[in-house]
């Protein structure tokens, strides 16, 4: 059985108001155990909505999300744990407390949370920073703490919402290489949203391309090359072909959206 299935999912915001917004439209998607799936698509296409619905933060308007066959109605971090784009570390907690906070929230004892936090911090390479406060850490380090916080729950699935979005190129690459090792060892399935074509391809077993609003799945591409991959993968023909293809796809969807917006605003006038 698949780890997670998204079945005919539709999500609307502001139902019955004049601001009603169709964010996701009739989406079908499955995630297998241990699989790495990246989601890419134009801005505002409902990627985040999809991810948040998969984790139970948003309820479906129609359709369903199932984890191990059980419908997801609220977040269960031991199944699927979130890593947010802006790290969302608590500035008033030390790095170690932050790393253990996910477990604490999920109901673990303080002792258990702290010992797991130590283990995971070491795992992400921040063993010596446990006593610091988040403000003393760089963006890349903060995101490592957020990843440690998620890994501490030993979830079967990680939901990552543009985890590298706020980082500079160099840090992205370093963190990326480290993360591929970490995630390879931890063996979690991952769903990751990204804006970067390179990331979308480099990481993925499977790439999900979404169309502009209302968000639909336009295409699913399997990347056969086994993981973890070396940086040289980026120089291969397969990678370059995929990159060109994705670029064109995104251009098309972006243009569609722009044209639709223009015609709908013309209609209003």
């Amino acid at each position: 059985m698949s780890l997670l299935t998204v079945d005919n999912l539709t999500v609307k915001y502001g139902v019955d108001t004049k601001d009603e917004l169709l964010a996701c439209h009739e989406i079908d998607l499955t995630i297998e155990g241990g699989e790495f799936v990246t989601i890419i698509g134009p801005s505002g296409c409902g990627k985040s909505t999809l991810l948040h619905t998969m984790g139970g933060l948003i309820s479906p308007t129609d359709g369903a999300v199932r984890f191990d066959g059980v419908p997801v109605t609220k977040p269960n971090p031991r199944n699927a744990a979130f890593v947010f784009q802006d790290y969302s570390l608590f500035p008033w907690k030390s790095v170690e407390e932050n790393a253990g906070m996910g477990l604490r929230f999920a109901g673990a004892s303080k002792a258990e949370a702290m010992s797991q936090a130590k283990t995971q911090l070491e795992f992400v390479g921040l063993k010596d920073f446990g006593e610091r406060y988040p403000r003393a850490l760089s963006g890349g380090m903060q995101q490592r703490v957020a990843i440690a916080r998620a890994l501490a729950l030993e979830p079967k699935l990680l939901l990552m919402d543009e985890p590298f979005g706020a980082l500079d190129e160099q840090t992205r690459r370093n963190l990326g290489t480290d993360l591929s090792r970490i995630l390879g060892e931890a063996g979690q399935a991952v769903v990751m949203i990204t804006h970067s074509l390179d990331e979308a391809i480099f990481w993925a077993d499977r790439i999900v391309v979404m169309s502009a609003r209302p968000g639909r799945i336009a295409e699913e591409i399997t990347v056969e090359t086994p993981r973890p991959r070396q940086l040289e993968f980026m120089t291969t023909k397969r990678f370059q072909d995929l990159r060109v293809h994705l670029f064109e796809q995104l251009e098309v969807h972006q243009r569609d959206a722009a044209e639709r917006d223009a015609s709908s605003s013309a209609a209003v006038v």
């Binding site: 915001y13 502001g14 139902v15 019955d16 108001t17 004049k18 601001d19 985040s48 909505t49 948040h52 933060l57 948003i58 309820s59």
Partner: protein, 260 residues
């Protein structure tokens, strides 16, 4: 990305209705308690007059030119005190913010001035300035001066250096930097200071009128209380509250008008 689902329109309307229902409930509870206290005779009418007596007295007050004369005096004292404190505070704040040492010297002194229980000095203000309008204005202006100056310095000192760099990069003169960049960036902090100042002015003017004066609405309240015309005293309190709310609204409009 919005995490919580936006609520449908019907619910928004129902929510507004609930809010007003809650407010109405509070109002009714207060009025009900008031009526109960009157009828049950638990509370002497010398403490809590009949509700109707207060409304009668209020209509009478609003219709009397004497009231509006007194109100005019109170408002005039408030405006004068606020103007003096604002002009003085902004000017001093600006001058004191110009050097790091002088600013660091002044900040704690001004904070102490704000903490100082100035009320204790009011009897002395009466001795120094006399019982007329001058003592009210002077007293309220001194009280408001400290937070206005303090916030002006803090605001001007904490302007992010990157804005100043922009100014320098485009060759702005020192005065241009002051007026176009510093005051703009420090505006929220300065406005907060002016708000605190205005609230201190109203508190101090009324207090000063209560403590020792021959004019103004505060004096009227004091007179009514000491002559045991309790309904009048409640009605005047109400009127004074309404007037200060109007003043506050006008000030907010003036402060906001320039930018928003």
């Amino acid at each position: 990305m919005p995490i919580t689902l936006t609520r449908p329109g019907r619910r928004v309307v129902r929510r507004q209705a609930t809010i007003w229902a809650l407010r109405l409930a509070l109002l009714l509870a207060v009025l009900g308690a008031w009526r109960y206290a009157n009828t049950a005779g638990e509370v002497s009418p010398l403490i809590l007059p009949q509700l109707s007596a207060v409304t009668d007295s209020f209509t009478q007050l609003v219709g009397s030119s004497h009231t509006w004369q007194q109100a005019g005096i109170t408002v005039l004292e408030m405006l004068a005190a606020f103007t003096i404190a604002a002009v003085g505070g902004l000017l001093c704040g600006f001058l004191l913010s110009r050097g790091p040492v002088i600013a660091r010297t002044a900040e704690p002194l001004l904070a102490w001035g704000y903490m100082f229980p100035l009320a204790l000095l009011y009897p002395l203000f009466l001795l120094w300035v006399g019982v007329g309008m001058g003592s009210k204005i002077a007293y309220a202006a001194v009280g408001a001066f400290f937070p206005i100056t303090y916030n002006t310095i803090r605001g001007l000192r904490s302007v992010d250096a990157k804005y100043l760099q922009v100014g320098r990069a485009f060759g702005a003169s020192s005065l241009q930097v002051d007026f176009n960049i510093k005051f703009g960036a420090a505006r929220p902090m300065i406005l907060a200071g002016l708000r605190i100042g205005s609230s201190i002015v109203t508190i101090f003017v009324v207090l000063a009128e209560l403590l020792g004066s021959q004019k103004g609405l505060g004096h009227e309240i004091e007179q009514a209380s000491s002559r045991l015309m309790i309904a009048d005293s409640y009605a005047t309190v109400l009127l004074l509250i309404l007037i200060t709310i109007v003043l506050q609204r006008v000030m907010e409009r003036l402060l906001r008008a320039k930018h928003e």
